[in-house]
């Protein structure tokens, strides 16, 4: 039986109209609309059964609602592959394609495929969540981008293993996953390591199993012009929390964080006083439980505030656990914390670690 594909396009490629119709609310139509027609023609043993159309503005300004509605539209529909785009260099369309593909992959467990240009902001945001072709920058190249994407689509529908991203014309996903090998001596890490060493000794080619990725180096911030007027916030990865850990932050591999009001406190009461403690599992907690200020120095900051050295200590401190916590989770938590700091006009942050 022919396999089923569902397709996503924006208002422009869906034939609704241009920028003036970008608020078009999501709609599902039977059959193929716009690029879905060319896609359908290129499919070997599959058909595009439905096309979803959604305005870029609507998706951009009501993202969660749009995704929820699309999820409902897809419920109960047969789907072996979901395709979106190509989005070329159109930023909002690219982000929309990424968002929809990510949602479909997560909610339905169905493989997804899209295409966009390297300059599209959707690339970095979503290349880890969907198969993504490296497309051209303008719709004039639709035919080429479509042909490349459909070649991969047919492979995915056949269940064929894809080649390298370079061979397929795709972006690297950057997503690293475990692969179990048949249990033989040759497949053990011990054998692989020693044989890799022998190849390195002999100058023969070998493949490292972890290519060192390009590093995301954050530049050091500009100095504060007048510290005596600055609003300073304290953030820690040292796991200082109220003794009952109300936000249930994990002791390792944290995905959760909390903010705790310290307005009026000259120092943090300790564990014994039913105040604060550390839940960090990566070090001996005795010193921090006895005196939480050694990790979250509210005492020193309050003294600076009274001396006039700093203008103000922000009323909350923010806490999570750094041990085993991934860089991606840490970045997400930071993005969640930042709006609170911005709202209070925080000028600088002191990040304490352990």
């Amino acid at each position: 039986m022919a396999k089923k594909v569902i397709y996503y396009v924006n208002q422009f490629f869906g034939g609704i109209g241009g920028e003036d119709t970008a608020d078009f609310e999501p709609e599902i139509r039977e059959g193929q609309v716009g690029p879905a027609m060319a896609a359908n023609a290129a499919l070997e043993d599959a058909e595009v059964t439905h096309t979803i159309i959604c305005g870029d503005n609507f998706m951009g300004s009501n993202t969660q609602e749009a995704l929820d509605r699309i999820e409902k539209m897809l419920e109960g529909k047969e789907m072996d592959l979901f395709i979106a785009g190509p989005a070329f260099q159109a930023g909002r369309y690219g982000v929309a394609c990424g968002n929809v593909c990510k949602m479909v992959g997560e909610k339905f467990g169905v493989p997804t495929l899209t295409s966009m240009n390297v300059e599209n902001p959707g690339v970095d945001m979503f290349k880890g969540y969907t198969r993504m072709m490296s497309g051209h920058n303008a719709a004039a190249q639709m035919r080429k981008d479509m042909a490349a994407m459909m070649a991969v689509a047919n492979k995915m529908l056949r269940g064929e293993e894809l080649g390298t991203p370079e061979e397929e014309g795709m972006f690297h996903s950057g997503r690293r996953i475990e692969k179990f090998l048949e249990y033989t001596r040759e497949n053990t890490a011990a054998y692989r390591g020693v044989q890799m060493l022998i190849k390195k000794i002999k100058g023969e080619p070998y493949q490292t199993e972890l290519e060192i990725p390009e590093r995301d180096v954050v530049p050091i911030a500009e100095p504060i012009a007048d510290l005596s007027k600055a609003n300073i916030a304290m953030v820690t990865t040292g796991g200082i929390v109220p003794v009952d850990n109300p936000d249930r932050i994990q002791s390792a591999s944290a995905t959760r964080w909390g903010r705790y009001n310290v307005a009026g406190l000259d120092k943090l009461p300790n564990r014994e006083a039913n105040g604060y403690k550390t839940i960090h599992a990566g070090f001996d907690p005795a010193a921090a439980d006895a005196c939480p200020d050694v990790i979250m120095p509210i005492d020193a900051m309050r003294a600076y505030e009274k001396e006039g050295k700093i203008g103000k200590l922000h009323d909350y401190f923010y806490s999570t656990v750094g041990t085993g916590t991934t860089e991606s989770e840490a970045a997400r938590m930071a993005e969640e914390i930042i709006p609170y700091l911005q709202e209070d006009g925080v000028d600088a942050i002191i990040l304490t670690s352990t």
Binding site: S173, R176, L181, A189, G193, M196, L210, R215, S251, E329
Partner: protein, 444 residues
């Protein structure tokens, strides 16, 4: 001039508990009551012990797993673990007999801790650890170590020592048995080597065992010595095989080296396999993984200088851990590469649940030959097993490194129906960094 260690292997087809100690037709029988009496007699802190056998393929989940050890006997009757189960004596030469295809598995009856793990003997979870390929002689117990009952970090001293004594006690059954095959490891004094071995590229192994806990009693021991209060030393690989080192209780389970892994260290065995053929294996620099920066740098400097002074041309570096230990792992490889000693590294990665996180906490472009054995963050979601050895609730309650009691999306790790959801972190030695891993990381 050499250290020669001979390990006579006796393959075990089955293990049963009974009322005598014997080995017939491949079946190892353990006198259960005598074992329990002996082990409880050795340590007043043990309040409860049971011995349960789990076989490969059984629909059985074991948790919290504290330690695994290979049952062995020294033919000269000395202890298996000098400075741990008996007097301090030199390890690394002599004759041993080992019961193969089985292990002593130490299990908390009620309570787990940060470094304890999970073993699934059957189903989809079986592929996650090497232990599912062995007959697990589970020593399940509880103790009166009240001071740490509700602590996330536990020394688990009474149960760990009971495990080592039990492996030794079972091993004695092997004393007069014929062996099925023999492994012989000869480590020649490195200044007395001759051509053609002397002349091949000189390769040193750098091992970084776990020593992060500042408080003593949680770290790996070297001849009974806590490796937090230790500096890198030059040792023979045969000492590692012969019980000079035992595993500790700290470190997320999947990145741990158990004592069984030290006794059988696959990376060292593979280096021996090439010794005299492609390489001249000049031994092990045994380092550590302390947490303070000066301690890290001191160890790295000493590893580098020892490697240079030994005349190492190449090195293979491996770490027992991830996260903070990555700084030691990467620093050590970089300082060796800078000294003109090219390196291969073996470790796991921490890519997060979505696989998109930075794999090691520090990275360096000089690392161009790395082996990856797993991702501590990958999730396992598995159905209930018919039998649980230990206590599933430990997953929710005791702060094990890869499980939790509450998550608004995922729920708790050990569900009421016996199914589980947890991170790779919890599989006991699951990433088998010592070299057992038949697993790698690929780009999705």
């Amino acid at each position: 001039m050499h250290m020669k260690l001979t390990i006579g292997n006796i393959h075990v087809k089955d293990v049963v508990v009974g009322s005598e100690n014997s080995f017939k037709d491949g079946v190892l029988t353990i006198d259960k009551q005598a074992a329990i009496d002996y082990l409880m007699g050795e340590d007043d802190h043990i309040t409860e012990l049971d011995i349960v056998i789990a076989h490969p393929g059984d629909d059985t989940r074991i948790v919290p797993v504290i330690e695994t050890i290979e049952p062995r006997v020294r033919m000269d009757d000395r202890c298996l673990f000098p400075g741990v189960t008996g007097d301090l004596v030199p390890a690394g030469e002599g004759e041993l007999k080992a019961f193969k295809d089985c292990c002593v598995t130490v299990v908390g009856k009620e309570w787990g801790s940060f470094g304890d793990g999970v073993i699934d003997m059957g189903g989809e979870g079986a592929k996650q650890t090497y232990w599912s390929r062995l007959i697990n002689i589970c020593l399940v117990g509880d103790t009166d170590e009240e001071f740490e009952r509700h602590e996330q970090q536990k020394m688990n001293h009474a149960l760990r020592w009971a495990g080592h004594r039990f492996a030794e006690w079972i091993g004695k059954i092997a004393k007069d048995l014929p062996v099925d095959d023999e492994e012989v490891y000869e480590f020649d004094a490195i200044t007395k080597r001759e051509a053609p071995k002397n002349g091949l590229p000189n390769v040193v192994a750098v091992l970084q065992p776990q020593s992060q806990m500042e408080a003593l009693g949680y770290n790996d021991l070297w001849y009974g010595w806590d490796m937090n209060k230790y500096l890198p030393s030059f040792v023979s690989p045969t000492e590692v095989f012969d019980g000079a080192m035992i595993s500790g209780s700290f470190m997320p389970a999947s990145s741990k080296w158990s004592t069984y892994e030290m006794q059988n260290f696959p990376i060292l065995k593979e280096l021996f396999a090439e010794d005299g053929k492609e390489i001249n294996f000049i031994g092990v620099i045994m380092s550590n993984l302390n947490v303070a920066l000066d301690q890290k740098e001191r160890s790295a400097i000493m590893v580098r200088n020892m490697a240079l002074n030994l005349g190492a041309d190449y090195a293979l570096v491996t770490e027992e851990g991830y996260g903070n230990p990555d700084t030691d792992y990467v620093r050590c490889m970089v300082i060796l590469e800078d000294a003109g000693i090219p390196v291969v590294g073996v470790s796991d990665e921490s890519n997060g649940r979505d696989g998109l996180g930075q794999p090691l906490v520090v990275l360096n472009d000089k690392l161009n030959a790395l082996v990856s054995t797993g991702n501590v963050g990958e999730l396992s979601d598995l159905p209930a097993c018919a039998t649980v050895i230990g206590n599933l609730e430990a997953l929710n309650r005791d702060g094990m490194s890869g499980s939790w009691g509450y998550d608004e999306v995922l729920g708790k790790s050990a569900r009421d129906d016996g199914s589980i959801i947890m991170e790779n972190n919890n599989w006991f030695c699951g990433n088998h960094i010592s070299g057992f891993a038949a697993k790698t990381i690929v780009e999705w």
